[in-house]
């Protein structure tokens, strides 16, 4: 039963592994970027699984409701910022991928490496 | 005095710099540029020589500049050995300028402006080294000297000169950053200061085995003193035009190395403290080894300038040996030998240059009978050679006399034996050449029939030859000046 409480962190670790593996192993640029976004969203899971309190609800204080246990607002604020950072990096990376496709005609890193090595 | 001593030091440093700038600006008009060089040389000599009376009276003029690191200033303080070196360098710069004008015009070398600018900066560095009050200032000017002489060594610019200039730069920069810098910082961390103080700053601050290590780091770190394993840069520097070899590699650059070693022994370690440490014998062995081996190599040399280079390596180690014997007489002998060797070696290099300009010959073997064609040059050459050997009428005899005296005071038989053997070897590689030059028929015809070299060169080398005699006669005031370093 004790280990169940840590299940979130194990999933966080597994997602990180999958994300990093996808970034490092796959040579296709778009595929790596998807892996990168998985890698980043795993971190969101780490932060948000910290804020859960047993019997707590979303931290919105209604009048009249006394001694209500709330979840911890701080990780949520941090993750709101991190999500938008994630999407910004992905958008920029995709724009670079499009330009690479136009410049090199392919988005496979190993082919690009060969094309650069010739001159 | 017209202006205080501190200002004199400042002017002594500023004159070569301003001269270098003026030379750079007047590059396009050779005659104007030559006059600027000469006036700078003369001005520098006057300013430097004006300090001699205050020194003899026991004064130590000082000039403090900016504080570079906490507790370490760029500061200047003139003391006897520094005075001697600066006077030597600035005095001979005049003669050398006259000579190089003749040489450059005679050989019509290209980019002469760069040559004179770098020369002026090299002299600025030499004066800086001479007058520095602490090891840090000395290290700064030591590096400026290395870097400013690089373009001079690589003057021709063809593949061979660039390769040997690379050797020159590699060894000098390598040893100074690789060994001299850590030794200096180690001394600073031990003694808390780097100022040259009579009696040394390392008294009792360093245990026995480490003294040897620090001593060796200094000895081999100061690459310009050309102790045996670190000597290859000197023959490599012979690719430079002869005026460069004459002044820099006979007087300014090499003397800076030996001068630094003497100052480190006298003012950093302190004569008595170092004498009590057994590891100072290491330096004596290294010096003796260098003297003997370089003389043997010189025997086999056929190229005249390389022969003079190896003879310089030997003579430098004389000074190091004298400094390492750590007896009062040998300390004075060290300074005296610096002067004697300077006059003698500059004459020899001037003669070699004159022979090259006149007959385009560089190898000794095809210089038989050249005495008949160039009597003045060969006469000066013989006087220089005699001074190297140490025959009485020339200055060499005086300095060897002091060094022998020091060695006897310390009854250091190794030093005595080396001095005697090397004197014989010197004679062995100089006299046959002089004899052949005067009394043998000319077997190798020169490119075109030639008489003496252009007159400014002949005038310069006869003047320096006379200087060796003058040193023999008027050596006493210099000896008294140097004796001041012994009194605590």
């Amino acid at each position: 039963m004790a280990l169940l409480g840590l299940y979130n962190y194990f999933v966080f670790a597994v997602l990180l592994m999958i994300g990093l593996y996808c970034v490092l192993a796959r040579t296709n640029i778009v595929k790596s970027l998807i892996g990168l976004s998985i890698f980043q969203s795993a971190v969101f899971l780490l932060y948000i699984s910290m804020d859960k309190v047993d019997g707590g609800t979303a931290p919105i204080i209604q009048e009249g409701v006394e001694n209500q246990v709330f979840a911890n607002p701080l990780p949520q604020v941090l993750i709101l910022t991190a999500i938008v950072v994630g999407i910004s990096t992905t958008a920029l990376a995709l724009a670079v991928a499009v330009r690479i496709k136009e410049a090199y005609g392919t988005i496979e890193e190993d082919k690009i490496q060969e094309m650069d090595r010739e001159p | 005095m017209i202006f205080s001593e501190a200002d004199t030091i400042f002017y002594a440093l500023m004159i070569p710099l301003v001269g270098a700038l003026a030379i750079a600006l007047t590059g396009r008009w050779p005659n104007v540029r030559e006059t600027v060089t000469l006036t700078t040389a003369v001005a520098l000599a006057c300013v430097v020589w004006s300090l001699v009376p205050t020194l003899q009276a026991g004064g130590r003029p000082e000039l403090h500049f900016v504080e570079m690191l906490p507790g370490l200033k760029i500061a200047f303080k003139v003391e006897p050995i520094g005075m001697l070196f600066a006077a030597l360098a600035s005095g001979l710069w005049i003669v050398n300028s006259v000579y190089s004008i003749g040489y450059m015009r005679g050989n019509n070398e290209k980019n002469q402006t760069r040559f004179y600018v770098c020369f002026a900066i090299a002299l600025f560095a030499a004066v800086g080294v001479a007058f520095s009050a602490n090891l840090l200032t000395l290290f700064i000017f030591y590096e400026v000297l290395t870097i400013s002489t690089y373009p001079l060594v690589a003057h021709k610019g063809d593949e061979a000169t660039v390769k040997s200039a690379r050797v020159y730069m590699g060894i000098l920069l390598g040893t100074s950053i690789g060994l001299f810098l850590p030794a200096m910082i180690w001394t600073y961390s031990l003694a808390g200061t780097l100022d040259f103080t009579p009696g040394g700053i390392l008294e009792g601050k360093i245990a026995e085995p480490l003294v040897g290590v620090l001593l060796l780091m200094f000895a081999f770190g100061i690459g310009k003193a050309a102790l045996m394993p670190i000597h290859r840069w000197l023959p490599a520097a012979m690719v430079a035009p002869t005026p460069v070899s004459a002044l820099l590699h006979a007087v300014a650059v090499v003397k800076a190395g030996v001068f630094t070693i003497t100052k480190v022994f006298v003012y950093i370690f302190g004569i008595d403290f170092l004498f009590s440490q057994p590891s100072h014998r290491l330096i004596i062995w290294i010096a003796c080894f260098t003297i003997v081996v370089s003389s043997f190599i010189a025997l086999r040399q056929t190229n005249l300038k390389r022969l003079l280079a190896y003879s310089t390596i030997g003579q430098l180690s004389y000074v190091v040996l004298a400094a390492a014997v750590l007896k009062p007489l040998s300390e004075i002998g060290a300074s005296m030998h610096m002067m004697a060797h300077a006059f003698g070696k500059i004459t020899l290099f001037f003669a070699a240059g004159a022979i090259y300009v006149a007959s385009k010959k560089t190898e000794i073997t095809d210089m038989r009978g050249i005495g008949r064609r160039m009597p003045w040059t060969m006469a000066a050459f013989s006087i220089g050679a005699l001074s190297m050997i140490g025959v009485p009428p020339t200055g060499g005899f005086i300095s060897k006399w002091y060094i022998l005296g020091g060695a006897i005071q310390d009854d250091n038989y190794l030093a005595l034996a080396t001095l005697i053997v090397s004197t014989l070897l010197n004679a062995a590689y100089f006299l046959p050449f002089i004899f052949a030059a005067f009394f043998y028929e000319e077997d190798v015809k020169p490119a075109r029939p030639h008489g003496e070299a252009p007159w400014p060169m002949v005038a310069a080398l006869t003047f320096t030859a006379l200087l060796t005699f003058a040193f023999f006669i008027f050596h006493q005031p210099i000896a008294d000046l140097e004796a001041q370093i012994l009194v605590k």
């Binding site: 920029l92 | 906490p70 290290f139 920069l173």
Partner: protein, 497 residues
């Protein structure tokens, strides 16, 4: 609240405030002017901040008026002031210098976006340096990284794109590692303020999480700082970015991550993890030594001048890592002073390279032959920079080498080994600097090479020489950088100033 108390916020606010303006107003030449004005004002503010903290005090500025652990707080001490000065100074010098070379490389069309990105990059770096909140460092790290990606991708050559892509991937992985580290720290202490973290990390009993957090933060920042094994992105990014951009990022951006690594390791972990300094030494010394040798060797065999200088930067970062690894006041002072000096030296050298590139249209060392005669002033600036890399006196490099060797002296046998490493790598630096000098001064230009007779434009030469001469000035009178660095080192190590 006089203007004087508002300075800490102003140094970033000015930059952030002008970025959208520079993007919106698309008049000819306006973006560059707005960017330069903003960066120069920010530099002035940074200098006045440095003046107040040189004595050793620290300025605390509560953002939004909320007290320390609850709101975000700006924490400016000698180290952050020195870094802020370096960043804004390098940025203004690069901008003023880069007017002509940027006009040459960045078209009129993308100028507003480019200069807005430049402002944001400076703001991001300065924001990272002065903030006192761990998560805030991540946010500003993202701002600076994203804008650096934009600046690097603006390079004319198509390889700029692929190097930007690799830079994005490694940069994001590094930033996410840092985020994971901060997450674990938050999980264990419950706070994000660096000062509060430092106080509370000591009382944590399950030490495992703190160790792993330190590991993640250090590795993440090492990637961003291009410390040796994780530096793969840097040489290409420096080479293919526009020249003025390389001047800026070479002088400032990697140093900021080293600054954060230093602050995190010393302020937070030093007194909380048991033998932290031994772990730090074991982590940084091998990396530093490898960085020195591999960096210098790669630089020796490199044909492209900008990549050569990039590999030399990898080596110089190795010096800073060694300085940090010594965990002594002198060692840290040496590391901080070298961060400042290396910024000056590399900034000047890359400016000279930009001048060469403008005239020779190429930065391949082989066809720069004869540059010594064609462009004497530029090559002279490059040579002085090169001497700085070697550590010849009268150049900034000498001062940092002095402190590093002095610090290594009282480290026993490890110290002797470090001294040997430092000095041998300076000799390697002699080789690759002399390789360029020999080509430039002693080799005749090839027949088919484009004949260059014109010196670089004055507008580019003057800033180059200003940077070089400031370097020489700080080499001769090093009281300002060394004063700031030693008081910073003492505050970091908690030794009484």
């Amino acid at each position: 609240m006089t203007l004087y108390d508002q300075l800490p916020a102003l140094v970033v606010a000015v930059l952030l405030f002008t970025a959208p303006i520079a993007y919106m107003l698309r008049l000819h030449g306006f973006p560059w002017a707005a960017a330069t004005a903003a960066v120069v004002t920010s530099f002035a503010v940074a200098c006045s901040l440095a003046a107040t903290v040189i004595g050793g005090e620290t300025i605390i500025y509560e953002m939004g008026g909320w007290p320390a652990p609850y709101g975000i707080v700006l924490h400016i001490d000698a180290l952050s002031a020195l870094m802020a000065m370096l960043i804004t100074g390098a940025s203004s010098a690069a901008l003023i210098f880069g007017y002509k070379s940027l006009a040459d490389e960045v078209g009129e069309e993308t100028a507003p976006a480019f200069f807005a990105a430049w402002l944001l990059c400076t703001a991001g770096l300065v924001g990272m340096v002065i903030t006192g909140d761990a998560f805030n460092i991540f946010v500003f790290m993202e701002i600076s990284s994203l804008s650096t990606y934009v600046l690097v991708s603006a390079g004319p050559d198509r390889r700029a794109l692929i190097s930007t892509y690799r830079y994005i991937v490694m940069g994001t992985v590094g930033a996410t590692f840092y985020l994971i580290g901060v997450g674990f720290l938050y999980m264990v202490t419950g706070t994000l303020n660096t000062a509060d973290l430092a106080a509370r990390v000591g009382q944590v009993e399950d030490i495992r999480l703190v160790l792993v957090a330190a590991g993640f933060v250090s590795v993440g920042l090492a990637v961003k700082a291009a410390v040796f094994p994780l530096h793969a992105w840097m040489p290409n990014a420096y080479t293919f970015a526009p020249n003025a951009v390389t001047v800026f990022i070479a002088a400032a951006s990697t140093k900021v991550s080293l600054y954060v690594l230093m602050r995190v390791d010393y302020a937070i972990f030093q007194n909380s993890i048991a033998n932290h300094d031994i772990q730090l030494t074991l982590f940084l010394v091998p990396l530093g030594v490898l960085a020195l040798f591999v960096g210098s060797l790669l630089a020796i065999y490199e044909r492209n001048l900008k990549t050569l200088l990039a590999y030399s930067s990898v080596a110089q970062i190795g010096y800073i890592a060694l300085g940090m690894a010594m965990t002594s006041v002198a060692g840290l002072t040496g590391a901080i002073v070298h961060m400042f000096n290396h910024g000056l030296i590399k900034g000047g050298m890359f400016m000279a390279v930009a001048c060469l590139a403008l005239r020779y249209r190429t930065v391949n060392v082989a066809n720069l032959a004869g540059a010594g005669k064609a462009m004497p002033w530029t090559m002279a600036a490059f040579v002085i920079g090169g001497l700085g890399l070697i550590g010849v006196p009268l150049t900034p490099g000498f001062i940092s080498k002095w402190y590093l060797v002095l610090a290594a002296l009282d480290k026993g046998w490890l110290g002797v080994f470090l001294i040997v490493v430092i000095l041998v790598s300076s000799l390697l630096a002699v080789i690759y600097v002399w390789k360029v000098i020999e080509v430039a001064y002693f080799r005749e230009p090839r027949a088919n090479a484009v004949p260059v007779t014109q010196e670089a434009p004055l507008a580019m030469l003057i800033p180059t020489w200003i940077v070089v001469l400031t370097g020489v000035w700080f080499a001769v009178d090093s009281s300002v950088p060394v004063g700031l660095a030693s008081s910073a080192a003492r505050t970091l190590l908690g030794v009484a100033p």
